[in-house]
Amino acid sequence: MSTATTSVEDWIATIAEKAKASTDDVRAVLDRHGIEAQATLPRRRRLCLAALRLKGTKRLSEGEVPIDFDRGDLTPGLWAILSDGNFRGKSSLLNIVQAALRGEFPLHIKPDVWSWLTDIEVEFRIDQTHYRVVARKPLGEKDPLLVRATLSRLDGETWFDIHSGPADEAFANAVADNMMDEFGFAKFHAFNKVTGSHTHGWQAIASSLFVNGPGKAVFGEVVQDGMPLRLLQMFMGLPWVSTYTAASTAMKKAAGERERVQGASPARDRLAARLAAVEADLGKARSEVRAQVDRVALRRELVSRDRSVVGFQTKVEEERDRVAELERQASTARSSSANLRRTLQQITDERAAGLVFRELRPVCCPSCDNGIDTRRYASADADGTCALCGTTHVEAEEDPQLLDDLRADAREADEVLARLEAELEAAKRRRRGFEGERDAERRRIDEIKDELSSSEDADAEVRVRSLEAQVAQLAEIIAEHAPAAAVPATDDAEILKHVAKVTKDLYDEMQRDLLKEVSGHLTRLSRDFGIKNVEGMDWTANGVLNIQQGGTPLTFQSLAPGEKLRLRIAAALAVIEVARLRHYGRHPGFLVLDSPAAQEMTADAFAALMASVRTAVSQADDVQVVVGAVARNELLDVVEGKRTLHAKGDRFLF
């Protein structure tokens, strides 16, 4: 029990030492997982139902009966809600109280009763602070969303509204948060491999305050996540319990994540293989999509290239005209050059021929073929005339200048021709160049048109997009399963393991003592309440209640319904009793037992039960127990008359 006083610093140092980590690392892990050291216990607070007021109209077959129930004088102690017969409204009243305390309407309230009510007002105190839950709705309305629910706190003389709105989840949360705060309860963290992380809070605690049947669990309504043991630990007031549960939850979560990571490893390999395959397909599909078909860009390119083709075509035509003109000029020049050279050749030949022929004097007349007298040549030479026709010789043809001029002209003509041919060749080259560029543009335009019109390409594009999406998705999934995330989880899990162990060690011994004591009280009360042949009960640290009955080991689940109910009442009372004895308890000191004798309880057993209840109440002046039951002497004997609400005969409680 001395461990309860261990300081937070000692606690962290111990964890660091065991986990072989630095205290900073330990603090970081604690922070990361929201684990708070709970070295001391907050002060115990008591819940007390103070008032219950109802208004409405009962719609019965015999007619409408107004409801106007008002008990505003409820105080700590034992209270009884009695009726002489069944179905007189006892359970309804208790269910209304539970619904109000949990902020959940209609919860267990029967639908017909719920529809009759128009005004519900439940006042309660937590220590000296007054709270009130009010629910107002139209008569006959069943939809909680059309219920106006208000949680208020009395501040001096006036009610301060903490939350007001439809009776929905938000209202239930507001009530729960307020209650958890007031009682200083930490939420219960639990991690379940199947269902993941859970937080249990006020609803679980509140439900354990209402014992109304055999139930599924010794405490409360939830059996998962070791809830009964945790409630027990909380009510017993063990320091470090909430710390331990938080550490234990975090440890399981971290280990679970690591397990999932490790377990997912083959899956990750498969995913990686799949990713590689999809990426390969994507590469192939991309190469199939010629030049990454971007239709908008292609259309833009098409327009621009069309314009370009027109430009080149214009230039081609300009050059074509220039070529034609140059060809015409060159042709003329060629012809001139040829004429000149031909003339030059002919004159040259003519002169050469003339020279040889003039040396050969005619021997006869070309006309009559008669011979020519040589003397005629002598006299003709002397006169400078022709011996045949007598014409005076003119040596005009021996003009040497003529040939020089012709040669010069021929050279000039050749130069002109050469220049024109050079220009022509250049113009043709330019034209061919423009034609080449124009044709290239046209080919590209045809290609673009093909690309644009090709449905195959469109399909390939779609395929690329789809493969890209698959790659992205696979990469995301693999990243989620990435081992990187497991590294801190592994480290955290290791440290958390030590946090849980060290913390558990702190209260283990105390818990063993406590559980032994509770088990003792439980055994005694169970026998008193008529559970036969109970030889012993042992509430283990694992949360299992081992029951030895008639030489047979049993658990809560294997008991008969009557025995279960009695055991639940016994457990509730035992906890209150042990808590009182130990001064550690954090039980709200409020208990509702609805029809405790419903499951074939003998008069003696019921008397014993009521005696136990009376003892529990009498030994602590701030405990409130409300029992709803058919009026029996055993009950009437132990409850003061003024603390009863008794519907006598055929009457109803409200």
Binding site: A338, R342, Q346, A352, V356, C364, D369
Partner: protein, 222 residues
């Protein structure tokens, strides 16, 4: 030699008289008749006879139109595949002969025709050529080539080597013509649409572009 030839475009001279190159024409005719003749008998003093004026006209046409000659030679080459023939054609174009050596003829009813009276008179007056008058109403059909013509032809080339072209060209043409008749030669010439379709009285057009292309093609095959 006649003056006033319209030779230079720069001088824009006006032709006073139609150009006449009678001596040159006489030289060309001399070589055609001389080299195209055959001996009439045996012995040193025997005369040579050139048969057929039409034949002379057909041969003259091939001398005066180097492009048509080239075309005929290419046909010969296609038959014989003699590379010397191809080289000769190439030489014709290399020397721009279809332009420079062209002496146009006019298309008449019986093909290309040129009145040869003047050059023939030059040759006859020197006792180089003599027309052989045949019986009946036929005018000159054959020519007698006097022995002096052969020695004169040699003198011509000795004195004016530039005139050797006429001898060489006539020899080349004679390789095609041989002793074929004028009609046979003209039949070949009529195969050219440019020659055949030329309107009467107009000059026969050049075909050098077409022949040059044919030469390029055949050289490519060679």
């Amino acid at each position: 030699m006649t003056a006033g030839i319209s030779a230079t475009p720069s001088k824009a001279s006006v032709a006073i008289t139609p150009p006449g190159y009678h001596y040159r024409d006489a030289i060309r005719l001399l070589f055609i008749l001389g080299l195209g003749s055959e001996p009439s008998g045996e012995g040193a003093g025997t005369v040579h006879i050139f048969r057929g004026e039409k034949r002379a006209m057909a041969i003259d046409f091939l001398v005066r139109y180097p492009d048509y000659l080239a075309d005929e030679l290419l046909s010969l080459y296609e038959t014989e595949r003699d590379p010397d023939v191809l080289a000769a054609v190439q030489g014709i174009f290399d020397a721009s002969e279809p332009d420079v050596r062209l002496v146009r003829m006019v298309r008449w009813h019986r093909g290309a025709f040129q009145n040869i009276d003047t050059p023939l008179a030059i040759l006859q007056s020197r006792h180089l050529i003599r027309t052989l008058r045949l019986a009946g109403r036929q005018r000159r059909h054959d020519f007698v080539v006097e022995p002096a013509a052969f020695s004169f032809m040699e003198n011509v080339i000795d004195q004016q080597p530039s005139l050797a072209w006429y001898k060489e060209r006539t020899e080349l043409v004679m390789r095609l013509a041989g002793l074929r008749s004028g009609s046979s030669l003209k039949d070949d010439q009529y195969l050219h649409p440019e020659y055949k379709d030329a309107p009467l009285g107009t000059e026969i057009p050049s075909i050098q572009g077409r022949v040059l292309a044919r030469l390029e093609r055949l050289r490519g095959e060679a």
